[in-house]
Amino acid sequence: MSSTWIVVIATSFAAFSLKFIGHLIPESWLEKPRVERITNYIPVVLLSGLIAMQTLTDKTKIVIDHRLAGLTVAFIAVIAKLPFPVIIIGAMATSAIFYRYRI
């Protein structure tokens, strides 16, 4: 078996194990108010960090490019309470136009 196959299988196994461990944590651990508040904030902070990284960085560098234009449109569409598919398509189209025409 090639080393690439070993990487593919080992990483898949590790990634699934991590997901599954999260689901196995007993509910009684999570019922304390403090733990509940913290676990409620976890998706908020991770997704916020993810938005920043996916929009404003390339590997470890901060860059401002077409993606910020797309995200700005998404943000305006969200505030204007437009339907979900409109938000996504508007952001993607804007970003693609900025990219293709090198604005």
Binding site: L18, Y41, G49, L50
Partner: protein
């Protein structure tokens, strides 16, 4: 049902980025089958892109496995939150764990009640899974014709979805500040730490925000 419609549109938009993954994987000397196996079983965009970038760039297998797994840690943290929502047992828990990703968690926490949150979780999870795998195959087969993900706007599909799912949850001051601090923290350390660390370490901010 707008929850189902929204969830499926997330599936299509995010899944379409699978074409970029398939194309990048093949360009990095992975076979079409290896690209598809990664999308089926690793099923985590960030981990998949990092893995093919490292191997394609001549990096060591160990650093590829470690980085791929590290980027998957986030899903484990989502799992803690989602387990309390889904109350699954047995094989359903296994399936739920596999589709616990940024999008399914994001769509679930954006809903107003438990029933809607479960619907959003499953529809988004399966929607992304189906389209991500379909487009991975298409991208891997048509690697040369696709061009870059950026020219199709695919690189902003997921951040714009996350803005849409997060914003309604940030009505009060505390979550708003928490989200802003997370953004500021991630951006301020990105230059000094490996990829993945800025996002994962925002968990510290969740601990501070939820402490009292």
């Amino acid at each position: 049902m707008s929850i189902k419609r929204d969830s499926i549109s997330v599936g299509v938009a995010v899944g379409a980025a699978g074409a970029a993954f398939g194309a990048v994987a093949v360009a990095s000397h992975f076979s079409v089958l290896q690209a598809c196996v990664l999308s089926l079983f690793l099923f985590s965009g960030a981990s998949q892109f990092a893995l093919v970038a490292i191997i394609g760039g001549g990096g060591s297998p160990w650093s590829a496995i470690a980085t791929g797994a590290f980027l998957g840690t986030r899903n484990g943290l989502y799992g803690i939150r989602m387990a309390g929502l889904l109350h699954n047992r047995g094989w359903r828990r296994v399936v739920a764990a596999h589709v616990t990703i940024d999008e399914s968690t994001g769509m679930a926490i954006a809903q107003e009640n438990v029933e809607q949150a479960r619907t959003a979780f499953w529809y988004t999870g399966f929607g992304v899974f189906f389209f991500w795998n379909l487009f991975t195959l298409l991208g891997a087969l048509g690697a040369k014709e696709i061009g870059s993900a950026a020219s199709w706007g695919l690189d902003v599909a997921s951040p714009s979805i996350f803005v849409a799912v997060l914003w309604p949850r940030l009505k009060e001051l505390r979550p708003k500040i928490t989200a802003l601090v997370a953004v500021a923290w991630a951006l301020s350390i990105t230059h000094f730490v490996p990829v993945g660390v800025p996002i994962l370490t925002t968990v510290i901010i969740a601990v501070f925000a939820g402490w009292n």
